[in-house]
Amino acid sequence: MNFLRKGGNRVDKALFEIYQSPQLRNPSLIVAWQTRDVGKLSVKIIHFLNEKLGGQKIAEIKPSGFFPLGGAAFKDNLLRVPESKFSACQKSDLLIFQSEEPKYEWYNFLNGLLDFAQHYCHIKELYTVSGTVSLTAHTAPRRILAVYNQPEFQKMLQGYGLEDMTWEGPPAISSYLLWLAKRRDIPGISLWPEIPFYLAAGEDPVATKLTLSFLDSRFSLGLDLGELDSDIGNQNEKIAQLREEDAEINEYINRLESGLSLNEEEQVRLARAVYELLKE
């Protein structure tokens, strides 16, 4: 078997395509999943960071054994190729990993991810980013719910305005990764920005900006987030227009703004109307 060596540890080379050696010191790892990407938050965040911070693709996890390879999937006329890639932002000392959720062998996939990040790139911390669906109105302030894998790390991140989550149920892949990182003594946090349910199928620039603000502040990135304000303004304007034109939709959103709930049928109607509006 072939192994990569950097430092004292070994990484199974057969799992990876390596494009260049990372010029990172002691980076933080940011992980985003494109599967079930609520409000397209993960894709937006990673795209923004890679673009603004000059992220360079350095490696990827080979799909064999993790993704179905019996053909090629497509959506909206476009082929979808499973990609699980690492990018390095040298100046900011960030390692970014973006991937679809593997279909098979999560344990081996996630351990491969951590092997590469820990032993080859020497990461110090892990951050996962995924949107979570919320029953709040789009006009309400968003929160970022947080899950930590070490109490010390939780203490360290106090003061960033994150809210502790309490939850029990089926684990998302981010929670699995966070748990595996804990076993390796890598401090980690899962960020779960809230996204109003009727923006979940589209985009939520408010949640995107909020999450980027946290990352900007945490890593002193010096990002200019002003360009997101025009996206936020446009979206708010369109929804305001819809509210003026459709009394029923307006009433639904009014109720959410007053902290009241909608029944399932009303939720579907609102989500569909906003999705149709924003996809244009």
């Binding site: 899950v147 894998n149 309490t166 149920g169 684990p171 966070l178 804990k182």
Partner: protein, 305 residues
Amino acid sequence: MGIRLFKEPELEKPDLICGWPGIGNIGLIAVDTLKGVLKAEELGEIEPWDFFYPKKVSIKNGLLEGLEFPTSKFYYQRLEKRDLIFFIGEEQPTEGERMYATGEKAYQMANLVLDVAERFGCQRVYTSGACVSPIHHTVKPRVVSVVSSEKLVEEVIRYQNTILISEIGGREGEGVITGLNGLLLAVAKKRGLEGICLMGEIPDWLSGSPFPYPKASKSVLEVFADILGIRVDFGFLGKMVAQIEEIVERLYEGFPPEIKERYDERKFVVQAKPRGITEEDAKWIKEHIDEFFKKRGEQGGQSSV
């Protein structure tokens, strides 16, 4: 991929008795009840990560407290007549979305289970599952056996309420024991161990239902008690049987009279081949059962964090 043993008791040629989920959870309930009755102690476990996805995460006040995986545990007990090792798996390892174990992972699991058994000197392996049969639900399920050698045929036919699978018609002497109940015995045979599969009968029309069929588990458990020379209190199992009988009776009451009449013929016949209902009847029952459980299952999904 590993085994964790919590202790190393001295056991004398223990028999291995295995239970996994399957149709009606017949084997699992029988083996788990036996383990409980005998107050078997924990012996070890197979680490789950290579075989299973986590089923639950616990997050409290922002801290990830843990992930819960399906367990695959060993237990042991020394009896007067013989020593026993139990293996109870909460899930069968699968590749893809099948219910039963298939592929390389199932083979690895079977070998790990047998590695532990052989380490303690095991020479005989029992598995237990379901045998889908054209029986009436009011009839006491028989225990259907498949064994690894002719010598064992002589033995199992002496067990109470037990028949050989060849005594059930419609199979032309051939068949497959699906999942680990079969695979484990195949691997055990390759290793030179004796293997016996004890399957409790479940009425064919109930084989796809989501509830357990403890009546068949009870039949299997009676056979195990017979083999081991022990007395078992069936109180708990009896309650479970009564609860499920109530549900089954309600379903049965919904049969159209002509199907009911044909189905009831099964009460009076020792089954050698499928009879009592037509293919059309079977189709009607299946569709209506599915509908019944679909209604019960439509109570919303769950998201994950």
